[in-house]
């Protein structure tokens, strides 16, 4: 919320992730298989964060991995899963079914209204839908309001002010000016409504380069920026790389099996790689380079999804 005016906001990934405290209300940027803040997610797991309350629109491996690592208490995303491709989110599903996380499922449009209330400094925002849906029953914080002009009764939702938003972007400068490619999903709204905004970028570049590409999130909204190449992997960060479908399949298999297999995945790719540099090395230069070949031709692009 309050503007962040430090001239140089560059930190390493460890310090960036340390802004997220146990029990924090965390907004996750990106959506589905694109630009999920995976380097930050892995670092939170390495640092043993717990008790998080996550909120966002439609998410996948970020939430599932945090659940698998026992970092989440409350989940307020509108969707968590791997779409029709790999189906239900295995760790999320298991935790919901055994009652180890609290499901406070929300709706993209409701979350948007709540973020706008926070941005405007207003005590609530009305929404026309939600009534007639059992989603309302998961949110005792919702109220009702009667319009003073038309007499209509609408659902009133309170402001949503995340403690911290975690966002991954292609480019940023040392001041925290950030360029995103579309879709921005809720990232702009999260940046404006959250107390702290932690951004990882593929590359920290000159201000001129970010301005040339277009500033999507201005520096004054950003608390800190860390360089994390392939920081969205195995999700995509266009124009740099497509998503790593075989790696996501590998994760889903391990998470579905649970137990030793899931522990093995976490050990191999998260806790067992003490840094993102080690993670990139474990994935392999060749594989990472292959994910950049999407732009060579339609055939090459299709090949990545086969």
């Amino acid at each position: 919320m309050a503007f962040h005016l430090d001239a140089d906001k560059r930190v390493d990934l460890e310090r960036a992730a340390a802004i997220v405290t146990d029990g924090a209300l965390v907004a996750l940027g990106g959506g589905l298989s694109a630009r999920l803040p995976m380097a930050l997610v892995r670092e939170l797991v390495r640092q043993g964060r717990s008790g998080l309350h996550v909120v966002g629109s439609a998410h996948g491996m970020d939430v599932d991995l945090l659940v698998a690592a026992g970092a989440i208490d409350v989940c307020e995303e509108s969707y968590v899963g791997f779409e029709q491709d790999f189906g239900l989110a295995p760790a999320y599903r298991r935790a919901a079914e055994t009652g180890t996380i609290t499901i406070r499922e929300s709706c993209c449009a409701t979350i948007l209204a709540q973020l706008r209330a926070a941005e405007l400094g207003l005590p609530f925002m009305p929404v026309r839908g939600v009534k007639g849906s059992d989603i309302a029953g998961l949110h005792p914080e919702y109220g009702e309001v009667t319009c003073p002009f038309t007499g209509e009764t609408l659902v009133a939702v309170p402001p949503l002010r995340p403690d911290v938003a975690l966002i991954h972007a292609p480019l940023g400068d040392r001041h925290g000016n950030i360029h995103l490619d579309q879709p921005y999903v809720l990232d702009e709204r999260f940046a404006a409504a959250s107390r702290d905004v932690v951004v990882t970028v593929e590359r920290i570049v000159s201000t001129e380069e970010v301005v040339g590409a277009g500033v999507t999130i201005p520096a004054h909204l950003v608390t800190t920026v860390a360089e994390a190449p392939y920081g969205a992997h195995p999700t995509s960060c266009y124009p740099d790389y497509a998503y790593d479908r075989p790696h996501i399949a590998q994760y889903v298999r391990a998470a579905t099996a649970g137990g030793a297999e899931l522990a093995g995945y976490l050990d191999q790719w998260v806790t067992g790689t003490p840094s993102e540099e080690a993670y990139r090395k474990a994935i392999g230069e060749e594989r990472l380079a292959a994910l950049r070949t999407w732009s060579a031709s339609t055939e090459a692009w299709k090949e990545l999804f086969a």
């Binding site: 439609a58 491709d85 449009a109 409701t110």
Partner: protein
Amino acid sequence: MSFSFDEWFVVALARTIRDREVVFHGFGSPCAQVAMHVARHTHARDMLLVEGATYAVNPDPPFIPPTGNDLALQRGASYRMRFEEFFDAAVRGDVDRMFLSGGQIDMHGNTNVTAIGPLDRPKVKLGGGGGGCNLAATIGHLTLWTTRHRSGRSLVERCDFVTDMGHRTAAGSREELGFTGGGPEWLVTELGVFDYDVDGHARLRQVFPDVSLQDVEGATGFELRVAGDLRTVPLPSSAEIAALRAIDPLGVRRSEFSADELARTFTHGDGAGCAC
């Protein structure tokens, strides 16, 4: 020309779109996604197609990828809406149609994509509703679909959890709740096509030719109402099949079907018309 059931199903979905409609699909919905592109390349050339997770307007993707949020789904679009632009348009009533599915769908078109069983200890935690519980209130018309009707667990007397409201819930009717959209207009399943009668109750209008009324009755968990003029689902045209194959070379639509359904194949006889 031979075609497989998944192709016919997608064409049946496409035909619920009228020309000059503004149409949107949710994510994780390859059949609906492909259907929108088929419609735009055949009978609904002036529709406004909004991609479900990229919000790209009228893109011409080189192929449909297995994820809804991919750059391929923005290719050829002259404009990408921002998240807020799309949701604002939808909640104020400027979006005409949305495709919506559900693990459970009841007689009034209420859908459940949240959980099977009680939510505090669900038997199956489903993915969740995305933007549905607001969008279903204000978007002009909903086309519902399921590819799991035959399981007997999809079309149910009562949803364990109502994520997105159809025509009526315990809370009241759409009118009573002040909802401005028309609610479910069509329900397309792998057995047939339903519309909704004046009570807002599903009514079977068309069946696929390899499906009997008894098959539908046995798989439907609520009272089966059947239209007086029940007929078979009209065959897809060769133009529709060609458009579909061009837009979905990876066959992502097939991920929604069981192997048994994919094995259903059909051949055009004489008199197969062109729906263009």
